[in-house]
Amino acid sequence: MLLRHTPKEINERSAVTINPAKTCQPIGAMYAALGIHGCLPHSHGSQGCCAYHRSALTRHYKEPVSAATSSFTEGSSVFGGQANLLQAINNIFTVYNPEVIAVHTTCLSETIGDDLNQIFDKAHKEGTVPPGKTLVGAATPSYVGSHVTGFSNMVKAMADLAEPVGKKNGKVNVIPGWVEPSDMEEIKRLAKMVGAEITLFPDTSGVLNGPLSGEYSMFPQGGVTVAELKGCGDAIGTLALGEWCSADAARLLDTKYKVPCKILDMPFGLKATDRFIDALRIISGTVVPEEITYERGQMVDLISDMHQYFYHKKVAIYGDPDQLIAMTEFLVSIDMCPIHVVTGTPGKRFEKRIKELTADMPFEVNVRAKGDMFLLHQWIKNEPVDLLMGNTYGKYIARDEDIPFIRWGFPILDRQGHQYFPTVGYKGGLRMLEKILNALLDRKDRDDPEEKFELVL
């Protein structure tokens, strides 16, 4: 047994987190910044933060992840990191020449109290920022919230680059949240089909799912441009896909520049995708084409074809709030029962929302925000499930408890495909249904006694 010391009996802990279902803010900020075209993310802290975040993102995407760091020493920790950041900005523009440097802070620089805006001002005054280049900054103290919070903070900083000219440009801002490059591509495809002109930000497609061609560019073609971000204050509206990842940026554009926003769920599963497409057509004043309705129908068809295998199967899921909310609704919509739901990210609203979504389920849900995977494992020991869904760390629970396991979320360190195949939208829904079905049926084929083993399922 790999997690042999985890007892079935649950004692509440107040101080120690064991096997976290979250990580810290800066990595979220780094991922979001990679969705800006020509951007080099920069970590204002010790160099270890940057090394860890780059490693984690690289292991997940199997793509180069460039980012720089202020490399704090003991001295900078005492006197502040201004000198380091100024030097870094100069070195970065001279050596790597990005369009944008997106700086996020760390627990170290936040504890010291470094003020990014003041340092940026100084850099501009010293002339180390070449004309036309941009500095973006987000405060991302690691001791508040989670990686999701950091993502949201950087996305908000991106929205704050808006420079409205005061004339609506007819575009819709779509803030996709922390989804895969493949998902961002799929959202753009759907929007194009709907006929809505959108600014998607961040947009890591074309950045973290690039080709192998014998050439390396530190700044690939993808990503939302600064010009597009400047224009997002003139958009006709904003759709924020997910309260935790995207709502803050949307609300900023709403309050600051009167760009009306609608906060939706991430478009995972039938119903959330329905709401996304419907909102997109209404805000952009277009008609949903037959092709999309057709794709939707295919998804409904698969649900009906395979419903017998989904019905009342118990599922344990863990990950990030926006994803879990959408996935919980998805699972309930195909009559599966997500009975254990854990996120490491804090937020009481999360628990409330999951309870609402599972209210009609025949089993009571165990839900915890600011929980950990140790607790999830204990819940599973007390009430076993038919399926486990979440990031790669779940494989230890899956193996010990012998549960079919689907990798979904961040990070996925031991399988491929998430960069290339979306799980949002109807096409993504088909893929998700296929994954669930395969996991359940592979297990059935493994476990059925010979006399019950069947050719046709």
Binding site: N19, A56, G214
Partner: protein, 545 residues
């Protein structure tokens, strides 16, 4: 497959160095110039390199932090100690199972390596202090698991807010009575790289665990294996070979280790140092305090493995052991040679670059050499000058602001337990016969004249080097992997071995030969261009039949 395609390097090393420095701001160029060295292999002196100095802000370095060296590298492979990280959640999360240290706890042994423990500090802890939460976390761990030991790691904010983690550790240790609790002040901003963290970790391991268990251990020819972390199962293979030779490993620091191994390390009669960088000072302290001499060994490469085994046997000087070692080598080598000869036609003449660690950039050159491959450029991520130039430079190392705040333990001979392992005459005899204790000559004497030795290589320089010198394989870590491969050059991780290993010992050598053969000769590198990109002119004249 084409054999030994010879790619002549078009550039002189001096030109390459110039090219690497060209784009830097003058200040950066001046600093980097001292860390990029053309190996001149002078008669008696090794050229001097600048190493173990600060990373330049904004220059994309491969390095990690002190915490990573302490928690990740040294304490990461300890399975029956609960390693609790005091800080915001990230530091513990990123060090959770990501280094591929393998361990064998058996069916019911203690194993906490699959777990991740953190105090998950919140803003209120930063403002009001985190000591109470830390003490409570230690208590909760004790109540849940009753481990032999709980260790505490400081992260950046802990040093700033001044939590006294050592006091918490002391108090809890006294309270429990049956659980060793101690702490590491390994804040990420200390030192200039992981190396400082290795030192902080090893000092505490030496202070709080070594020497706790005075029970005599069974077995003959007792050694400690220092600086072997069992990445990808290296330690398992070394253990297999040592066992076959009849050599008893009292402790391994710290691959596949147990608490008791550390506690009993002083009962060994010889310390064998694998990774000189991360642990040579522990070997020194073992000698000063307990009288255990040390030698440098290297189990990377079949020949190096054989050489190291012979060196151990020669130390003990027992003919039975010497014969057994020879028998083991004779038994193991045919299988190694068979694979080596099989891959040689496909690997001979190919070139490699290695930029990892504090030892591996040196050790792995042996394996490449066995395959007929030349290492044309190499360097360390976090090594010191002695790892480049040899131990004779140690007395001349400059102490700077960063190295000064990493504690050097003052160790004296243990009044009761110090025991000379050999008589002065025996030592003299060995040394007169050419036997070398505490010796390490560093990477540079083993590299060719004109090879580029580069300390703390960064992303820009890596890309330039590959572009200019076109190696057949590049070795570094995960962060570097894909930018190199995008250029069409295979990249092997030599920190975590990608998903491979072991590469140590005899079986490891076989694995490595096969892995490198697979990488440098993979068909995929020929797919970079589509047919219409390779001969675009055809498209205009092509006619359907």
């Amino acid at each position: 497959m084409a054999t030994a395609k010879k790619k002549l390097v078009q550039w002189e090393p001096t030109d390459i160095k110039k090219e690497l420095l060209k784009k830097y701001p003058p200040k950066v160029a001046r600093r980097r110039a001292k860390q990029i060295l053309i190996n001149e292999a002078l008669e008696n002196t090794t050229p001097e390199i600048v190493a173990n100095v600060r990373t330049i802000p904004g220059i994309i370095s491969m390095r990690g932090c002190t915490y990573a060296g302490c928690k990740g590298v040294i304490m990461g492979p300890t399975r029956d100690i609960v390693n609790l990280v005091h800080g915001p959640i990230g530091c513990s999360f990123y060090a959770w199972l990501t280094r591929r240290n393998q361990t064998d706890a058996g069916v019911d042994g203690e194993n906490y390596m699959t777990y991740c423990f953190s105090t998950d500090m919140q803003d209120s802890d930063i403002i009001f202090g985190g000591e109470k939460k830390l003490a409570q976390a230690v208590q909760e761990i004790y109540d849940l698991f009753h481990p032999k030991a709980i260790t505490i790691f400081a992260t950046c904010p802990v040093g700033l807010i001044g939590d006294d983690i050592h006091n918490v550790a002391r108090t809890m240790k006294e309270k429990f009575g049956d659980c060793n609790v101690f702490a590491f002040s390994c804040e990420g901003y200390k030192g200039v790289s992981q190396s400082a963290g290795h030192h902080i970790a090893n000092n505490q391991v030496f202070t709080h665990m070594v020497g706790e268990n005075n029970e005599e251990k069974a077995g003959e020819y007792k050694i400690n294996l220092l600086g072997e972390y069992n990445i990808g199962g290296d330690g398992f293979e070394i253990d297999r070979i040592l066992k076959k030779c009849g050599i008893t490993t009292i402790s391994t620091f710290s691959g596949n280790s147990t608490y008791d191994q550390f506690a009993s390390a002083h009962m060994a009669d010889l310390s064998c140092v694998m990774c000189h960088r991360s642990i040579n000072y522990v070997a020194d302290m073992m000698e000063t305090k307990f009288g255990i001499p040390w030698i440098k060994v290297n189990f990377i490469g079949a020949k190096s493995t054989a050489k190291s085994l012979r060196k151990i046997a020669e130390y003990f000087g027992d003919q039975v052991l010497i014969d057994r070692v020879e028998a083991v080598i004779a038994e193991e080598m045919p299988a190694v040679d068979a694979v080596r000869e099989e891959v040689l036609p496909r690997t001979t003449g190919k070139t490699a670059m290695i930029f990892v660690g504090g030892s591996r950039a040196h050790h792995y050159q042996d394996l490449f050499a066995e395959m007929g491959m030349k290492t044309i450029s190499a360097g360390y991520e976090f090594a010191h000058r002695d790892d480049y130039e040899g131990r004779e430079v140690i007395p001349f190392l400059k102490v700077d602001a960063d190295s000064r705040n990493i504690e050097e333990l003052e160790v004296e001979a243990d009044p009761e337990r110090f025991k000379a392992r050999k008589t002065p005459q025996e030592y003299k005899q060995l040394e007169e016969a050419g036997y070398k204790f505490k010796e390490y000559d560093g990477i540079m004497p083993d590299m060719e004249k004109g090879a580029l030795v580069i300390d703390d290589l960064n992303q820009y320089e890596a890309e330039k080097l590959v572009e200019l010198m076109k190696p057949d394989i590049f070795c570094a870590g995960i962060k570097e992997k894909y930018s190199i491969q995008k250029l069409g050059v295979p990249m092997k991780q030599l920190h975590s071995y990608d998903s491979g290993g072991p590469y140590a010992g005899f079986r490891g050598a076989v694995n490595f030969y096969q892995e490198i053969d697979r990488l440098v000769n993979s068909k995929v590198w020929s797919y970079m261009k589509a047919p219409w990109q390779e001969s675009p002119e055809l498209s205009a004249t092509y006619v359907w039949e």
